[in-house]
């Protein structure tokens, strides 16, 4: 559980930064991640660079923003929460009537006490967000609206970490850092990814190479895929992967299937979740929403599932000021960490075993079978016999786990015992 606490602390640290798809908030965030995982490499991609069908946008810089009433009182203050400003707002400094002000205001009418999260990345406009309650109580007045921001030719920032393994085959993790002060739908994925990379690093033996990336959603994953030979390299080498998003609450576990739900990643994720939390939610790819969209797009076709606790869009706090540090917990983060560690271990041990003799082997002479037979079963022996039976060269260990209803972790021990006895290869 101490890993869960470490993850939570990292979230706390990163919470106040004003992230967007570009800008210094992102850079602060990646620096915080580097304190945990110093090997993350940071890249800057200039505004205007092409990313498949897209273009890297201008960089956004914001210094301050507020609305004052005629008494000079700040009734909205960016310094209190960065959700108050529509992401990518252009600068403004003028006095407006209440009627005009309302044109620039965004609220969430169905949740009158939350400040919604709103952006306008690809069209130049400005705006403020507030609660519906505040909006409803705004008096007639002359308001001073002020945003000290700029959009300029800068760069898009992303982080990348590659941890080599025995083979060039890769397991891929992606998460994003483009949302401002939100906890589940932002910080949780970053913390999980950073600490998973430490777990992977700490392993004695790594069969696979691991690639972790930290990008702004959509434009960042597309930029990453389109740069250098990433797409080609990943299509060749990535055998499984996950997009980590909203992994910090403790309500449920969720996955988003790949486009057709038929990849090794789907199989492993379902297998692991079926033992840890059989009531997990498996969403169709029609319910996608984060960067699994890009990884599974036609032509990209990478075997990447989404992994969440409560999936984006499925919890009421989503994209509001209530998705804060109270909504996530170290236990919630640790649960997600545990699932991903199990998935990694299932992958690392996922071989096609094959029994080496005809008929059942005589386990008894190897001390693996009770010497006395009477009514009633031997569960460990049954597991071993079933493993042997389905270790016919056609099933990988995850298939056998699915058939037997026994976790991969337990089967790995069985397989090890059998290998020591020369019974499987």
């Amino acid at each position: 559980m101490s890993v869960g606490q470490d993850m939570y602390k990292l979230c706390e640290k990163m919470f106040p930064y004003c992230r967007s798809i570009t800008g210094d908030g992102v850079r602060q965030t990646v620096e915080a991640l580097k304190e945990v995982q110093p090997k993350i490499k940071v890249y800057e991609v200039p505004s205007g660079e092409k990313s498949f069908d897209w273009t890297v946008p201008k960089e956004w810089r914001i210094r301050d923003a507020w609305i004052k009433n005629s008494k000079g009182e700040k009734i909205v203050d960016f310094k209190k929460t960065n959700l108050h400003v529509v992401g990518y707002s252009i600068p403004v400094d003028k006095k407006v009537s209440l009627a005009e002000l309302k044109q620039y205001l965004y609220t969430e009418p169905n949740q009158p006490d939350v400040i919604p999260y709103v952006t306008s990345y690809y069209k130049e406009r400005f705006g403020f967000c507030m609660t519906q309650n505040q909006y409803d109580n705004l008096p007639e007045d002359t308001y001073h609206i002020y945003i000290d921001s700029e959009l300029f030719d800068g760069s898009l920032t992303y982080g990348e970490l590659v941890i080599p393994g025995e083979t060039e085959e890769e397991i891929f993790f992606s998460t994003y850092f483009c949302h401002p002060s939100m906890a589940n739908d932002q910080l949780s994925g970053l913390a999980l990814s950073a600490y998973l990379s430490k777990y992977v690093e700490s392993k004695d033996k790594r069969r696979y190479t691991y690639r972790f990336i930290y990008v702004p959603e959509t434009i960042g994953s597309l930029t990453y895929l389109s740069r250098e030979n990433h797409l080609e390299h990943m299509k060749k080498n990535v055998i499984a992967g996950w997009n980590l998003s909203c992994v910090g609450d403790d309500r449920t576990y969720s996955m988003v299937s790949t486009r057709y739900g038929n990849t090794l990643t789907d199989k492993v994720t379902k297998n692991v979740l079926s033992f840890i939390y059989p009531e997990y939610k498996c969403y169709s790819f029609l319910k996608r929403g984060s960067d699994e969209r890009q990884y599974n797009a036609p032509g990209v076709d990478l075997p990447i599932c989404g992994f969440s606790r409560s999936k984006y869009g499925e919890f009421p706090e989503y994209h509001t000021s209530k998705d804060n540090l109270d909504f996530i917990s170290s236990a919630g983060l640790f649960g997600a960490y545990n699932v991903m560690v199990e998935c990694i271990e299932a992958m690392e041990h996922n071989h096609r075993y094959k029994i080496k003799c005809y008929g059942e082997p005589q386990l008894g002479k190897r001390g693996l079978y009770p010497t006395i037979s009477h009514k009633g079963g031997y569960d460990e022996v049954t597991a071993m016999m079933n493993f042997i039976t389905y270790a016919d060269g056609t099933n990988d260990i995850v298939d056998i786990s699915d058939i037997m209803g026994v976790p991969v972790r337990d089967l790995v021990k069985v397989a090890e015992k059998l290998r020591e006895n020369g019974l499987v290869e």
Copy 2:
């Protein structure tokens, strides 16, 4: 709806004709169809010609038939309803006791107030049909039974209409005209087929060639298939088709699957019905009964489904005097017409689309995406994004419709927009 009214009027006109598998009733019927669709070509096949395992039977001509009691009162009169005579009855003119009379009478004991529809095509006999009520009340008397009919070397009549399209691939519609005065199980299919052919003709662009045939059931479809090179031609060109039967009531919608339920026709029909009437009935091929029997027979193997409102055999009025003009309606006919039009349109627009860029395209820069992002979805945008996602070259538009749960008609508009923007091919 005016098409529905036109179809109903055509049914009214054709109702009284005394159809059978051959004869002048059929010729009157096809003349009535030609008033609506003059391009129907009429063929005559001589009695005795071989049709695969069958032989075209003698032609049946009937002029009059009645049963008189000893007072000379007609207690059964063919001129009142042709259902009173067993189809293909040979002539008779004799006086009989009640006991003997009963040997020639057919009733429907479970529905005492209906006259059943009975035929004896392939064995020479005669008979009369009446209600069970009338039968039960027949007094002891001497009855005069009289049928003025003949079986002679004549011909079997069928109609054919081919409307050429851009390709030689064909969509096929079959219906039959061998039943006497019955509305749902006879006239509805003829009216639908005639007006569908007009719909097809009226289209600006036709990707497919359309073939409509009007035949007596069983012997007619077999004769058609066995003549010229029809079977060979159709096996090569027909990609989908429907046998139209009982399409005039308004109780439900039904389809009869092909032999294995796995053809494009099955897929399109299910797709269309799932949006128009999700409670539709999909009958196994074991429940077949009309000419889909011949089209799906081993060796013929055409992808033809049955299409009905209430399927033959599944409504109590079936094959009785209650299957009359009151049982069908213009609304019922129009519903069937609408389903078939949707099937035709789904076929005409059924392409395998393929997105042309890696990753999601940037819809925003093309004005296809909202410029401001806040909580809550955009249904049209979701549809477009989902379409793009599954337009990976492996799915046709019906598959995508099935995956997304959005009607083909709506997806066609999405596809058009994307094609205009150069995004799909």
Copy 3:
């Protein structure tokens, strides 16, 4: 039913013999079987011979065994029931305290009034079995325990019967004779196998060769497979087969699927049981336990299902003194016999039929169709038409039976009629 009575009598005769995996009890048993089926050949395999990963064990001979109390009264007597001695017990002759005695005693605590069946084949030890009730009431005393047995280099006995047919393709039946006085989990399978072999012999025509074997479980089936070229021969020729076990009670019918449940044997067994006893239990291969374990082991891969009435391990009497002659019945045995006969007949008649004409044949001209058509169905005709429809060369008769929901036995008659009329091949 007289076959059921004969089977029951054979069980009665064999009940008292003290069988184990080797020894004279087995030889007595096979002699009893030979009285019914004299063509069974008996083989002896010397102790120490290798059977794949196993070794034929020493032979066990037991003459007497008892426990006496200090008054010289036999409180346990092997002569009353051979279940009192742990199978393969080594000799002992000593006086022991109650405390020491208890180290050698085996009971079934959950069923206090049964003597359990316990063995120790592959480790040398001795032991006695008694009811929990007797155990709980044993007074402090000095007990004399005595087992007059020996383990020596002898041989393992098995029986084999091959009944040749028109082809070299084989149907295989295996059963076992290594359990002492138990009825369902021992004698029923032997009786069924012997009488099935007589049924097979009595057939006028046999398309397939039939192989029946009688072996001790596990070591016996492995020995059989590993000897001569049995494994190679059987992998080449066996197309279906059953391991017969617990086929004498009348509670239910059960089958154990093959490793993946996808063989012809699975298909035929499910088909036959679905008509005879639709509530039958189909156990996954994970619930295997008898020699289907060896026949389906990786590398062996024979298409052998388990067949039972109440499956081993699933009835409370299992492996106790309550699995006696009261638990089985001639009706229970006959039910199992009937299922296996139906399976044999389904196999013998299992052809891929193919209709010889295009479209439906004209059954009427062959007298196979009613000459008058009126409302309401003709069930036999429907069956014939459905058979013709699915006799398209892709389905065997069991597939057609599954599709139509009509037993193979009935379809065989239909097929015969059609063949007589030259309609199918």
